[in-house]
């Protein structure tokens, strides 16, 4: 078996800090093997992909075979066997996003970057992947950069996005923080938080659609004795009348949105 420790002779292993971090992940769980998924995320944050020595290190710490670790690493799409770019760009091409423009965006980016699916640009900056539904369908067509959401994309906004990333321009998620590198993102996924939780808005426009319409119409959940603030019974008499105006009110919401936000969803609600 190949030596995996950093003092090994057959192959230079992972450094001592990384090994210590890997071991620390196992302490979060009643049974150490539960740590394997976050451990592999950590391996990627250090190695840029799942490497043979990363697999050996996980196997060694967990007391399982390297084959078992490989079996897990090859099952999940976020684990990469080839080096990805500093910015891993995903384009949703599941049905709804595809139909609404995801297919066109993906084709445009392949051409623009001169790469195929799951390939990296020669400068190592950008890798491209078509992804499955990323739970942001109300912001279709959806993209991701290092697993941060980039909502309401067009072919033009998508090419501008990758150009900015390549040029080193700071890019901010449409519903999140400043984009970090893929390796930094992998470290957060391994359970080592960075300091960006407070960046970005609470919600995008689409997430607030129903709440805004409800506020406009005075619609609330039933009131309670314990909680005074949801709508008083007096509100309800008017509601039926107001309901008939709902369509117009929704249109008003749309107008407000497009007025304040040409990129859709990019509005920062709370910042």
């Amino acid at each position: 078996m190949t030596e995996v420790r950093s003092n090994g002779s057959a192959q230079v292993g992972l450094d001592a800090n990384t090994l210590a971090d890997l071991v620390s992940i196992t302490r979060r769980y009643p049974e150490a093997r539960s740590a394997l998924l976050p451990m592999l995320h950590l391996v990627q944050s250090v190695e840029g992909r799942v490497t043979a020595r990363g697999i050996e290190a996980c196997a060694d710490i967990l007391g399982i075979s390297a084959a078992e670790v490989s079996g897990v690493a090859t099952f999940y799409t976020m684990y990469k066997r080839r080096t990805v770019g500093d910015y891993h760009v995903g384009v949703c091409t599941n049905t709804l996003c595809a139909v609404m423009g995801g297919d066109v965006i993906f084709e445009r980016l392949k051409e623009h970057l001169d790469v195929g699916n799951d390939e990296t640009t020669e400068d190592g900056r950008i890798s491209l992947e078509h992804i499955e539904c990323n739970a942001a369908c109300d912001y279709a067509p959806v993209m991701t950069v290092n697993w941060e959401l980039m909502d309401n994309q067009t072919p033009e906004s998508a090419t501008r996005l990758v150009d900015d990333l390549r040029a080193g321009v700071e890019v901010t998620s449409t519903r999140g923080p400043r984009i970090c590198t893929w390796r930094e993102a992998e470290r957060v996924l391994a359970g080592f938080p960075d300091d960006r939780a407070d960046e970005g808005p609470a919600a995008g426009q689409a997430s607030l659609l129903g709440l805004r319409i409800a506020r406009k119409n005075g619609w609330t959940a039933p009131s309670t004795e314990r909680e005074g603030d949801p709508g008083s019974p007096a509100d309800t008499a008017q509601q039926a009348v107001e309901q008939s105006d709902a369509t117009d009110d929704a249109s008003a919401v749309r107008v407000e949105e497009s007025g304040s936000d040409t990129h859709g969803g990019k509005d920062e609600v709370d910042e």
Partner: protein, 445 residues
Amino acid sequence: MSEPDISPLTPVLTKHWDSDRPWTLESYEGTGGYAALDTAFAMTQDDVIALVKDSGLRGRGGAGFPTGMKWGFIPQGPEKDGTVKPHYLVVNADESEPGTCKDVPLMMATPHTLLEGVILACYAIRANHAFIYVRGEVLHVVRRLQRAVQEAYLAGHLGEDIHGSGFDLQVTVHAGAGAYICGEETALLDSLEGRRGQPRLRPPFPAVAGLYAAPTVINNVESIASVPCIVRNGAEWFSSMGTEKSKGMTLYSLSGHVRNPGQLEAPLGVTLRQLLDIAGGVREGHQLKFWTPGGSSTPILTAEHLDVPLDYEGVGAAGSMLGTKALQIFDETTCIVRAVLRWTEFYKHESCGKCTPCREGTWWLVQTLARLEQGKGSEADLETLLDQCDNILGRSFCALADGAVSPITSSIQYFRQEYVDHFTRGGCPFDPAAATLFAPLGASA
């Protein structure tokens, strides 16, 4: 209590999403957050379970199983051999059913709502360790959860002797690594145990032998996040919303060819017609063609189903399932064959490979559908396709394969002629550009 007039929209879970930094502990406590803990700690564990049973809350992750009943299945007391196994709560935050986009905004905006629900649920089922299994592809949600857990520990809402109750709880945020199948509860458990995410044969059910073969409750994010308001406001308050067997408010996610996509929190039983009226309707100049009531695994419906009550019974009676309430709207510019082929490719890609009918079957479905979509199919291919579906449905451990055949069989039921048109014309009769969001106004198929 007399029958109250219920508003068309009833923001409860979404109510504070537009507040100032609602993800912070300070903001959450400012709206009465974590007060439900003391209410619950003053009750017995069994009374909390009874309260949730009485509320009528049913699982919001797709199957609609009564939440309180699920909690009640956790065996109490020692095993037959006298040992006492720990209990676990696992929150399914692996939101990935195509069309489903409600849990991600909830965790992004108000992660403490979920955490308070986690504490209440763990107290009720007597668990001292909970896991939030969140998909890895939503990094900022992972961050907000990590921060919320950290804040809750520091404030004494988590850890030892919470609020002086003697109840201890540890919460671990666990990021997945990209696999749709891990949203299936037993595959999720295998994944959480550090293995390939493959479903388990049941029985034994997770309530008896779940995580580490110990009694485990697995609940969807929205289900757990709905618990604090029930403890705070009472079962009667919650069940005053909704229909006879589908109680409470829920998140409907409207997406696709609509003027205003987004989240609409309404009492169960609202219809798509009402939601579309409220939200501004199908995109301008177009008509509804087909829609999913609860993600791509639920059989599609059409304009004739606009008045179906969107509750568990109503959608079931219409031949589909409420699922995750992911209302994906497609207008007349969308080719049904293209849409269904793409979903089928998804199921093929996401089949975990454990069961032969699913692993091989989804592969064959793609072959047959692709031929039809390219206009190279025949009437015989349509029959083969239905035959393949018949051989796949109900023959695997989990529901992935059943979900894979749903769009196919339902689309042939409603749009058979469109399949035929593909091979009689020798190609797709639709212009995909007309279906895009950036298509010029008035473009048509």
